[in-house]
C-alpha cells in the first residue's frame, strides 16, 4: 500500500489517530485534544470529563466536572410525558429500529418548546444579557425576529414554560443544586433573580432555562449547548422506547379522534 499523503483530508483540532504499522485504516493510538484516550484516559477519566474535553478542547476542573455531571443527571430523562420521549416510545412500541426511536426523540426534542432550539435561544439570551436584569426585560419585550427560517417564530421566551403556573419543584431543586456547585456567575444570579425574570417572561422558568444557565457557566457556546442538550436527554428516550416494546402496543395510548370537518371544501 502507498504511504503517499491522500489527496483529500479531513481537518480536525479534536482527534489524532496513529495507524497500526500493518494497516493505515486501523488505530494504534487515538488522542483527544492531545490526551491519549486509550493509553491514559481510559479507566481514569470520567464520562463527563471526556464530554467536556471533546467540546471545549481542555480538560475540565473538578468543579466543572461535578457541575456537568449534575446537569447530565438532571437532563437524562425528561420522562414519558415529554414530547421527545413520547416520540421515542412511538418508535419503541411499534418495534421500530433503535436508531429510529432515537431519531424520533431528537427530531421532536429539537424544537423551541423544551427542545434543543429552545436551549440555543436561551443561551443566546444569556450571552447577550448576562446578569443585567434590565437587559433581560428589554429582550423579553422586544419584537421577535421575523426572518424566514426553517424554525417557526418563537411563541414564548426561551427557557420558560408557556403552560406553567409556578416554578416547579424539580426546577427549583435543580437550580438550588446547580447554583451551589456553580463554576460561574449565572446560576447563582438566576437563583437570586428568579422571580424577577419570571415576572418579565410572564411564565415560570423551565428546565431548559436552568440547563442554559449551567452550560453558559461551563463556557459552552449556544451551539455546543444545543448539541449537549440533545445528547444528554437521549438516555431516558432510549429506556422508555425499549420499555414500551416490552409492554406492547395494546397498552400504549392511541387516543380518540374528533374530525372537526368531515367534508372540507376543496378550494
Amino acid at each position: 500500500m502507498s504511504d503517499e499523503k491522500p489527496a483529500e483530508q479531513i481537518r480536525t483540532r479534536i482527534w489524532l489517530e496513529e495507524p497500526e504499522p500493518d494497516n493505515p485504516f486501523a488505530t494504534r493510538a487515538a488522542y483527544c485534544h492531545g490526551y491519549d484516550v486509550y493509553g491514559a484516559m481510559l479507566g481514569q477519566a470520567r464520562w463527563v470529563e471526556m464530554l467536556y474535553l471533546l467540546f471545549r478542547g481542555d480538560a475540565p476542573t473538578p468543579a466543572q466536572s461535578e457541575l456537568l455531571e449534575a446537569v447530565a443527571v438532571a437532563l437524562a430523562n425528561p420522562g414519558p410525558r415529554d414530547p421527545s420521549v413520547h416520540a421515542a416510545m412511538c418508535g419503541g412500541v411499534g418495534g421500530s429500529t433503535a436508531a429510529a426511536s432515537l431519531i424520533a426523540a431528537l427530531a421532536v426534542g429539537a424544537g423551541q418548546l423544551s427542545g434543543g432550539r429552545e436551549l440555543l435561544l436561551s443561551m443566546e439570551a444569556w450571552h447577550s444579557c448576562g446578569m443585567d436584569l434590565d437587559a433581560w426585560q428589554r429582550r423579553m419585550t422586544a419584537p421577535g425576529d421575523d426572518t424566514a427560517s426553517i424554525w417557526p417564530t418563537p411563541e414564548h421566551p426561551p427557557g420558560f414554560d408557556p403552560h406553567g403556573v409556578t416554578t416547579t419543584t424539580i426546577v427549583k431543586q435543580t437550580i438550588a443544586c446547580l447554583a451551589a456547585m456553580s463554576t460561574g456567575p449565572r446560576l447563582p444570579w438566576l437563583e437570586e433573580n428568579l422571580s424577577s425574570l419570571e415576572a418579565a417572561a410572564g411564565c415560570p422558568l423551565a428546565m431548559s432555562g436552568v440547563a442554559a444557565a449551567a452550560f453558559s457557566d461551563l463556557g459552552f457556546s449556544p451551539e455546543q449547548g444545543e448539541m449537549l442538550f440533545l445528547l444528554l436527554r437521549l438516555p431516558g428516550a432510549a429506556a422508555h422506547a425499549l420499555e414500551q416494546w416490552k409492554y406492547g402496543h395494546k397498552k400504549f395510548p392511541f387516543f380518540k379522534i374528533e374530525l372537526e370537518s368531515d367534508s372540507e371544501e376543496v378550494k
Partner: protein, 272 residues
C-alpha cells in the same frame, strides 16, 4: 385560556380538520374519503393537496414534478446523498439512511434552509415593489440582513444546469410569465449588473415558480421537502452492493490533525 387548563382541554383527544383513519371502514384526508374521492390522484397531487388543501391544474402539477425531478442527483459525494450512501456501506437500513439524508437536506447553505429564505425574499420583495418600493432598496436590505440573497450564488459551482430545462418546461406549460418568476429574473439582472457576482441558481427559480403557483412560504418549504429524495436510494443501493465499508474509507492519513500537542492526562483532574 392558557396554562394547565389549555392542556387539559386537549388531553386524550385529537381534534383534527386534516383527517383520520377508521380501520376497516375508511380513511379521511382533509375531509375527503381517500379511497373514493381521492383515489385517482397521483402522489404529488395528493402531497400538495395535503399541504395546501387546494387542487392544482395538470400543467401546474407537471411543473411541480419537474422541480423534484431536476434536483435529484444520484451522486454519493453530495453531502446529503453521502449520508444515504454511508448508511448502505455501513450496512444500516435503507429507511434510516434515506431519512437521515433528507433531514440533512435541511441545511443552512443549501436545501431547505435556502429554499425558505428564497421564497420569502421573492414573495416579500414583490409585495414591497407593489407598494412602491425600489428594487435596489429591497436588494440592499436583504444583502445587509443576510450577507447574501438566497437563490442567488451557489456553493461549489457558478452556472446552474437546472435553469434551462425548468424554464423550457415552464414555457411549454404556459407558466413562465408569473410575476414572481419575472421578478427573479429582474433581480438577477440587477445583481449581475452590480459588483456582487451573484448569479441566479435553481433555488430562486423554483421558489419563484412555487410562489406563482400560489404557495405560501411555509407551503413551499414543505412542498420541496422531498426535492432531493429520488437521488438518494441509488446512492444507498450502490454502496450497499459494494463490499462493506468501502465507501470513502478514511485511513489515519486522511485525518489532518491541527490541534493541541500530545500531553499527559493529569490524574488530579480525574475522579478519585
Amino acid at each position: 385560556m392558557n396554562g394547565p387548563e389549555l392542556l387539559q382541554q386537549h388531553a386524550d383527544c385529537l381534534k383534527s380538520r386534516m383527517g383520520g383513519c377508521f380501520p376497516g371502514e375508511r380513511a379521511v384526508f382533509r375531509g375527503h374519503d381517500l379511497h373514493v374521492e381521492l383515489k385517482d390522484m397521483d402522489w404529488v397531487e395528493l402531497y400538495v393537496f395535503g399541504i395546501t388543501g387546494r387542487r392544482f391544474t395538470r400543467e401546474q402539477l407537471r411543473l411541480m414534478h419537474a422541480i423534484w425531478v431536476y434536483t435529484s442527483y444520484p451522486d454519493a459525494r453530495i453531502w446529503n446523498n453521502r449520508v444515504a450512501a454511508l448508511a448502505g456501506s455501513a450496512r444500516s437500513t435503507g429507511t434510516l439512511g434515506v431519512a437521515a439524508a433528507l433531514a440533512v437536506s435541511e441545511a443552512s447553505i443549501y436545501g431547505r434552509g435556502i429554499d425558505i429564505k428564497a421564497v420569502e425574499f421573492i414573495i416579500t420583495t414583490r409585495k414591497e415593489l407593489d407598494n412602491g418600493a425600489e428594487l435596489a432598496d429591497c436588494v440592499q436590505k436583504e444583502l445587509k440582513k443576510h450577507r447574501g440573497i438566497a437563490g442567488f450564488g451557489r456553493p461549489l459551482a457558478s452556472g446552474d444546469e437546472r435553469i434551462a430545462p425548468i424554464m423550457a418546461l415552464a414555457r411549454s406549460l404556459g407558466l413562465d410569465q408569473g410575476p414572481h418568476l419575472r421578478l427573479a429574473f429582474t433581480v438577477n439582472e440587477f445583481l449581475l449588473s452590480g459588483r456582487w457576482r451573484l448569479g441566479m441558481n435553481f433555488g430562486a427559480i423554483a421558489a419563484a415558480l412555487g410562489a406563482d403557483l400560489g404557495l405560501s412560504t411555509r407551503e413551499y418549504y414543505l412542498f420541496v421537502f422531498p426535492a432531493f429524495l429520488a437521488g438518494m436510494p441509488p446512492c444507498f443501493i450502490e454502496s450497499a452492493q459494494q463490499p462493506e465499508g468501502t465507501l470513502f474509507p478514511l485511513s489515519c492519513g486522511h485525518i489532518l490533525y491541527e490541534g493541541a500537542q500530545k500531553r499527559a492526562w493529569n490524574p488530579s483532574q480525574s475522579k478519585p
